[in-house]
């Protein structure tokens, strides 16, 4: 076409662009920079080679067992310092991941963990959080079903304490089950993502606890490992986040001083005590207040403590977002004649929350790891199961291997969370990022 009038396209010389140029410009610019590069390459290379030697080449992958099933760890002891003893992981991985869950039934916590991860992946897909069928009738029905489930459970629990007649209990139970199915199905239509959460979390609970559909019942005391960590973190944050928004709104309320005071008191009290003391209250003091013979499940107590604690911290993060929003936004909404909830739900929160994604995720990740504190009330989460696996005398000398594996599990969950939040930020802040 216009070949005759343009100069031939020539690639820039390799000394200006391309990997070689980049290396020259960044790593070998001067003799000082060259020397630093060489020294660092040597050190990193040696470290990596050492790690490969330790972790793979010289590692012990299995040990012999005697007739009583006691491992003979002599080969591991011999390799100590030069090679990793992965035999401990081979021996203990099921104990670390699933705790004291009956051995033959451990496919159940395994499926539960897969369901949890699937739920996280599902929630991260773009657009799944849109609302479903917009029908006031369905919405009302779903709300009634959810409230019925909550009510039957509270009444049933109180009934257990007060000794209601069993016939009444059976009726309550029947209503409860019908309402559960109804709320799951209705929510799937009204707000699909929430429906999926309710259905999947119920499935996880049924898998873990058993007692229905031919699954043998497993007491909560036998649960342990990764499922406990995921249950505490997922339920904890799923309930704490909505609660925290209400508390943050309440704390900024100008029309309702009583609500404001309760919110301030709640946040300041919870922030004023360590998580351990809240867990300790739930585990040691709570049973003493209850009439004899009434036991609220230990996991539930810990779960409520985690929710209350996380909500107080998240509320302050959310409040930070609310403070940062220019007043004009709310005033504009008022000028349009919006109600308080329309204004909050459509104008204020969407902007405020996207501002505070980094600190929100920061708190989420912090709480994911804080769940390991439940050790002090006798619940055995992932980290504690690792420690228990290490208490076994033949394996006591090999803690490094176990802690590396635990760290990898924690890192993969926390990194996924932070990666997702960065993507979310980019997407939501496209308008600002120009």
């Amino acid at each position: 076409m216009t070949d005759a009038t343009t100069a031939p396209r020539v690639r820039p010389p390799a000394s200006v662009v391309g990997p070689w140029a980049w290396l020259r410009a960044n790593l070998f610019k001067s003799w000082l920079s060259t020397a630093t590069t060489l020294v660092l390459v040597y050190l990193i290379g040696r470290g990596l080679l050492g790690l490969i030697d330790w972790g793979f080449v010289n590692a012990v992958w299995g040990v012999p067992y005697n007739a009583q099933g006691v491992p003979d760890t002599a080969s591991c002891h011999a390799a100590k310092g030069q090679g990793a003893c992965w035999a401990i992981i081979a021996d203990k991985y099921r104990l670390i991941l699933f705790g004291r869950f009956p051995f033959d039934e451990q496919w159940r916590p395994a499926v539960a963990v897969v369901l949890f991860i699937a739920l996280y992946v599902f929630s991260a897909i773009k657009g799944v959080w849109r609302k479903g069928i917009d029908s006031p009738l369905l919405r009302t029905a779903a709300a009634i079903a959810v409230v019925t489930v909550l009510a039957t459970n509270v009444v049933g629990w109180l009934g257990g304490i007060l000794g209601l007649p069993t016939v009444l209990g059976d009726i309550l139970h029947l209503i409860d089950i019908v309402a559960r199915y109804a709320s799951g199905v209705l929510l799937l239509f009204v707000w699909p993502a929430i429906g999926v959460w309710v259905v999947v979390l119920s499935a996880i609970f049924v898998l873990m606890a058993g007692g229905v559909y031919g699954l043998s019942p497993v007491a909560v005391d036998s649960w342990g490992g990764l499922p406990i960590t995921l249950i505490l973190a997922t339920f904890g944050l799923a309930f704490a986040f909505p609660l925290s928004i209400l508390v943050a709104l309440g704390r900024r309320s100008t029309q309702m001083p009583a609500v404001k005071m309760i919110c301030v008191l709640y946040v300041e009290l919870i922030r004023g005590v360590p998580l351990i003391s809240v867990l300790f209250m739930a585990s040691v003091m709570f049973p003493l207040f209850m009439p004899p013979g009434v036991n609220v499940d230990k996991l539930l107590r810990a779960q409520i403590a985690v929710i209350l604690f996380a909500a107080a911290y998240l509320a302050e993060v959310v409040r930070g977002g609310l403070q940062a929003l220019p007043k004009g936004q709310a005033e504009a909404a008022d000028a349009l004649g919006m109600t308080y909830w329309q204004k909050t739900g459509l104008i204020v929160l969407p902007q405020a929350l996207r501002l505070v994604i980094p600190p929100l995720v920061n708190t989420f990740i912090g709480f994911f790891k804080d769940t390991s504190l439940v050790l002090i009330i006798g619940l055995f989460d992932l980290l504690t199961m690792g420690k228990i696996a290490l208490s076994d005398p033949p394996w006591q000398a090999f803690p490094t291997e176990v802690y590396i594996v635990l760290a990898l599990i924690y890192i993969s969950f926390c990194f996924a969370m932070s990666k997702y939040s960065r993507g979310l930020e980019r997407e939501l802040n496209q308008a600002r990022g120009r």
Binding site: Q68, L95, M281, V284, L288, F289, Q396
Partner: protein, 345 residues
């Protein structure tokens, strides 16, 4: 939470009590509320540690193993006739007594030392001692020391704030010797300091020393546990005060385990022992007499315990021997130990 939660709870509990709903389970049948409750749910609730090797620790299959765990199984075999009907409730050093007081567990079998304070102040009763422990010393074989009395001027690795620290100080004062303590809080750090030679001896409960020595694998032969045990730590099984029948069941189940060892009744030979002519064995296994009835149990209670769990010696061999701990004072009184069973008649 401290105010909101506790206040609301106290209010609720107060309401329940004032309205008269919270009635303690009334005793019928056996005369023991705890036993009746255990029979109704066909399970006993047993508080354990779940973290101490040799006493209670889940194995690779997640099954609770150890002397404390087997003690729970023995009580279950006696009370509800099936050693597998135990719900193991892991407790911590902080919440163990609350768990027992509040009824979260029926008994506590959790390496807990029997002291006057605990029995006098906490409303708890010690039924029997299942392990006589005490503070000991571990030294390197190369040091040539074979007695704690020869350790004048030694440096000793010990955890700060423990009863061990106190016991060593007392021991050295009484024997008019000097020592230098090296105090390290973190246990692996402390053990590392001992192995690397920063101190001449490592001191804590003898059972823990033996387990640590055992965990060193081939290097265990380089370490020597000195014969002196310088303090008393009788570890026992506890129940709540106020249910004497249940206390009897727990105590006499343990005595039955020891009696069975004295008489050579094991899990393997208990069936053939049913035809024994020894009157003690016949009473123990419920062939003659009504010992079980006296406890509110089936007359076959001790038979069930021995058949399903074995005698005390078998429990020991199964759980403690693999840790490399010698029987010594935990042996039967006839073999120079402290386990002495009152007569079962």
């Amino acid at each position: 939470m401290r105010w909101n939660g506790a206040g609301a709870l106290a209010l609720m509990a107060g309401l329940a009590v004032s309205l008269g709903f919270a009635q303690p389970a009334t005793a019928q049948g056996s005369g023991s509320a705890t036993l009746d409750a255990a029979k109704t749910r066909a399970q006993i609730l047993c508080g354990i540690s779940g973290q101490v090797p040799g006493f209670s620790l889940p194995d690779s299959q997640g099954v609770m193993r150890g002397l404390d765990a087997d003690t729970c199984r023995a009580i279950a075999a006696a009370a509800v006739g099936d050693a597998t009907k135990v719900k193991f409730v892991p407790t911590t050093t902080q919440n163990r007594f609350t768990a027992l007081q509040s009824g979260e567990v029926d008994l506590l079998s959790r390496t807990t030392t029997w002291t006057l304070g605990r029995e006098g102040n906490l409303g708890l009763l010690f039924a029997w001692v299942n392990y006589y422990d005490g503070t000991g010393f571990l030294v390197k074989k190369s040091s040539g020391v074979d007695s704690a009395k020869k350790m004048d001027g030694a440096t000793i690795c010990v955890q700060p704030g423990t009863s061990t620290e106190l016991a060593i100080a007392d021991f050295y004062r009484v024997n008019k010797m000097k020592f230098t303590p090296i105090l390290i809080q973190d246990l692996p750090e402390l053990q590392g300091a001992f192995l690397s030679g920063r101190c001449d001896a490592y001191s804590t409960d003898a059972s823990a020393l033996a387990t640590f020595r055992f965990s060193q694998g081939p290097k265990a032969a380089d370490l020597v546990l000195l014969p002196e045990i310088i303090s008393k730590e009788p570890l026992g099984v506890m129940v709540r005060k106020g249910d004497d029948k249940w206390f009897d069941i727990v105590r006499w189940t343990f005595i039955a385990l020891i009696t069975a060892e004295e008489k050579g009744v094991t899990a393997a030979n208990v069936d053939s022992m049913l035809t024994s002519t020894d009157p003690d064995i016949r009473r123990l296994l419920g062939v003659d007499g009504d010992l079980g009835k006296a406890l509110g149990l089936d007359n076959k209670w001790a038979y069930n315990v021995i058949k399903q769990v074995g005698n005390f010696g078998e429990m020991w061999d199964r759980n403690i021997t693999p840790m490399g701990v010698p029987r010594s004072i935990n042996n039967l009184w006839t073999k120079g130990g402290l386990q002495y069973a009152p007569p079962m008649r």
